[in-house]
């Protein structure tokens, strides 16, 4: 894979060999899986032809589990063990979630990410999301007839590091190889932009069930460049339902309802809300417990009035994103509408009024994100046709990263809207003689006070060589990768000693917890973790060999005879390891050895392609 991609990034090694890849839209309300078949992105449906899968998981009393449509019925019958909108809990603590008091779950007030107590024990939102992802993976594998080589999972652009990490962990638990976390509005822009071959500056307005994103992108010759993104990770259709639910409780003058009735009322509220997108008036009629019923009528105008503050709330991120991009509404060529909640007429009117133009609603707001993710997954898996230059996504970090300094202030290290990947280094020194450790607190957000930002993690640096106070120079590097995920490294610059870092995520799972969950998952599914590891290594080794062979065929001339012989030897050894039914560590060693043997070769090839790029030879291909 390696060297090949350097020559023709993302091009398939053997044209006939198609790798199965999927795009997954893991939504608050609905989730979808899509793939590229014969060059066209399509959503994969279940046996009954349904593409949308409700993001619902039911833990049954008999130890079984239902996800998706099968869990719909249990929402009222068994609300405590039937989890809806779990995305709202990802990477969040108990105190962070709005309207938590109207939720029928038993929460555990654990430090960090909240947990739910179900009939099957304590569950993290990560495990619950993994069940949704697993169901989608199985759907895709059944439909495509093989194991997925990888998947692109979409996340709201405004998700912070903890929410992204939780999503990535969920995918791992679901047995998915994550090629990339992709921002939902960016995925929509890819699907829309490629389908319509548009150029210019576009805004994507994405209002789903529980999240709101606004991204501004510049589309030029196959490059999708995000100029700014903003949003609200806790605003969506659910909040419109909640307004209607509160209104109904108030109008009908009923006592605080039971968990079952709360569910009924919430489901009715959603139904009424959706009806009002089609008609001027809708009945809110419901029979609750013995002798209690609700019989109301809602007009579109009344609904629009009671939810006006929510609509206004979506305009704030638009203003901020425009300001950050240094643009005015006149610069926006089109507004792409995404997410089921953008079907509400008063949303469309407000957006049209703000931008002074009718928004673009000629695409399926439910599917466009999954389709864009599938297109990106296809490219990342290496399924491009020769000569297809592909496209480039340049995305940004949605919220600034900061370090806690004296007095509880946040000092910004990476500013919001910096293009990814990005790294910033900061130098620190010791304040005590012989000091060998140092602690940091990393936060995310725009506010000045640490207390007003999201706490991401506390890091502890250890192994600083003991020196006099102020003599050590510790360079700490904060790196955010293309998934928007942070990693931290540190070294003492005088001695070059690498300090070890102990990470304590504020709202995440520790690696050991994930490992335990993985093991439990495999046991339940009757799979053998070791066997799976070995299989993955074999696939990896095969890919590497194929890529090196391809690269040698094209660019063998860059090597002299001894260099070539060393690579050939490493290839032969790795081939031997694949064929002999060995163990995973030996195979991993062989893979690493071949990678090392080809490092210089890869560097030369990349140098050459960089020079070519600068000489303008590749620009035309973009």
């Amino acid at each position: 894979m390696t060297l090949l991609q350097i020559a023709e990034p993302g091009m398939s090694a053997a044209p006939h060999q198609h790798r199965l890849a999927a795009g997954i839209d893991l939504g608050t309300t609905n989730s979808l899986v899509a793939t590229v078949k014969n060059g066209i992105a399509v959503c994969l449906s279940d046996e009954e032809g349904r593409a949308l899968m409700p993001s619902i998981v039911h833990y049954r009393g008999d130890g079984g589990l239902d996800a998706g449509h099968a869990a719909l019925g249990a929402r009222v019958a068994d609300p405590r063990n039937t989890i809806v909108s779990v995305k709202r809990f990802m990477g969040r603590g108990f105190a962070d979630v709005a309207h938590i008091e109207t939720m029928p779950y038993v929460f555990e007030e654990t430090p960090g990410m909240l947990r739910l107590r179900t009939v099957q024990g304590s569950k993290s939102p990560v495990e619950i999301s993994a069940e949704i992802l697993r169901a989608l993976r199985l759907r895709a594998e059944a439909s495509l007839g093989g194991e997925l080589a990888g998947a692109v999972i979409t996340v709201p652009a405004y998700f912070d590091d903890a929410q992204r990490q939780a999503t990535r962990d969920a995918a791992r638990l679901a047995g998915l190889h994550v090629l990339r976390l992709l921002n939902e509005p960016t995925a929509a822009a890819v699907a829309y932009g490629l389908d319509n071959a548009v150029e210019g500056v576009y805004a994507v307005y994405d209002l789903g069930g529980g999240t709101f994103d606004l991204s501004i992108l510049k589309l030029t010759r196959g490059v999708f460049e995000v100029l700014a993104t903003n949003g609200d990770a806790a605003l969506g259709g659910d909040d419109f339902d909640h307004r209607l639910y509160c209104w109904a409780l108030d109008q009908a003058r009923i006592a605080p309802p039971s968990a079952e009735d709360t569910r009924r009322l919430q489901m009715k509220a959603r139904e009424v809300k959706e009806l009002l997108s089609m008609s001027e008036e809708a009945p809110f009629r419901l029979r609750l417990g013995p002798g209690v019923s609700v019989d109301l009528t809602v007009s579109r105008a009344a609904f629009s009035e009671m939810t006006k503050p929510l609509v206004q709330k979506t305009l704030v991120p638009i203003r901020r994103a425009l300001r950050d991009a240094g643009l005015s509404v006149r610069d926006i060529k089109g507004v792409v509408m995404v997410g089921g909640a953008t079907r509400m007429p008063h949303i469309q009117r407000a957006v049209a009024a703000f931008f002074g133009q009718e928004p673009l609603t000629n695409l399926d707001p439910d599917k466009v994100v999954a389709l864009g993710a599938a297109m990106q997954a296809n490219v990342l898996a290496g399924n491009r046709k020769p000569g297809d230059g592909g496209w480039l996504l340049l995305d940004v970090i949605p919220l600034s990263l900061g370090l806690e300094t004296m007095g509880g202030l946040s000092e910004k290290i990476v500013p919001r809207n910096a293009t990814l990947p990005v790294a910033r280094a900061q130098e620190f020194t010791t304040y005590k003689d012989g000091q060998t450790a140092m602690a940091f607190h990393v936060v995310q957000g725009e506010r000045e006070l640490v207390a007003d930002c999201r706490s991401l993690a506390r890091f502890e640096l250890r192994g600083i060589p003991p020196m006099a106070a102020g003599a050590a120079r510790i360079r700490v590097t904060f790196q955010v990768d293309a998934d928007g995920l942070l990693s931290v490294s540190a070294r003492e610059t005088g001695t070059g000693v690498e300090a070890s870092i102990l990470v304590n995520p504020s709202y995440g799972l520790a690696d050991s917890e994930i490992a335990d969950m993985l093991r439990a998952g495999f046991e339940r599914a009757g799979e053998d973790l070791a066997a799976r590891n070995l299989r993955e290594q074999q696939v990896e080794a095969g890919r590497l060999l194929e890529a090196v062979a391809q690269a040698l065929a094209v660019d063998g001339g860059l090597l002299d005879a001894p260099e070539r012989a060393a690579i050939d030897a490493a290839m032969a050894r790795l081939r031997g390891l694949i064929d002999s039914p060995g163990d995973a560590p030996a195979l991993a060693g062989g893979i690493a050895a071949l990678a090392r043997a080809t490092e210089e070769f890869a560097a030369r090839r990349m140098d050459r392609s960089i020079r070519a790029a600068l000489a303008g030879q590749k620009i035309g291909e973009l």
Partner: protein, 177 residues
């Protein structure tokens, strides 16, 4: 190295080392380089080579972020010339500019205190015009007169105007909701 780390940012993008650059050219060169080194192009590489590409992508983005904005570009040019803009002290600055600074500050603080969105937007507009004037001057000082001492002084003014823009933006952001 995937990207030649010994090259300065201008050379990295194949641009002449000047203050006045062709922004479209910078964008094009940035896109062309990222098309080679972006992590999306190297998803399947073994770790060591993904890291190599990642280092290149980080360097290219850092270079782009530095050259894109006039202020950071100017500071970088001074850096290359061994001049530290932070070291020039305020006393040396023209008193006319210090008075202008105070007037701006007062106007922004007043508009923020009154929550006057229109006034803030008006100030933002005026500030943009002022920044344009100062950048034109900078181009002259860097590119035609090659007077780095004078340029360093102008960079200090631009730094002040930039902080002012942040204040206005913060003020507007606070009034958004």
């Amino acid at each position: 190295m995937s990207v030649n780390f010994s090259l300065d940012y201008f050379a990295l993008f194949g641009l002449p080392r000047r203050f006045d650059i062709d922004e479209a050219e910078l964008d094009r060169a940035w896109h062309a380089l990222q098309a080679e080194v972006h992590p999306d192009r190297h998803v399947h590489l073994p770790g060591s080579e993904r890291h190599r590409a990642m280092r290149g992508a980080l360097r290219v983005n850092e270079a782009y972020a530095t050259l894109k904005k006039p202020l950071s570009r100017a500071r970088y040019l001074l850096d290359l010339a061994g001049v530290d803009a932070d070291e020039i002290d305020n006393v040396a600055m023209a008193s006319g500019f210090l008075i202008e600074q105070m007037e701006w500050r007062e106007a922004v603080e007043e508009a923020r205190a009154f929550g006057d969105v229109d006034a803030l937007e008006q100030l933002a507009l005026r500030l943009r015009m002022r920044v344009d004037e100062v950048t034109t001057l900078l181009a002259e000082q860097f590119d035609s007169r090659e007077n780095r001492e004078a340029a360093a002084d102008t960079v200090r003014r631009l730094m002040f105007l930039d902080r002012l823009r942040c204040d206005i933006d913060d003020g507007l952001a606070a009034l958004d909701d």
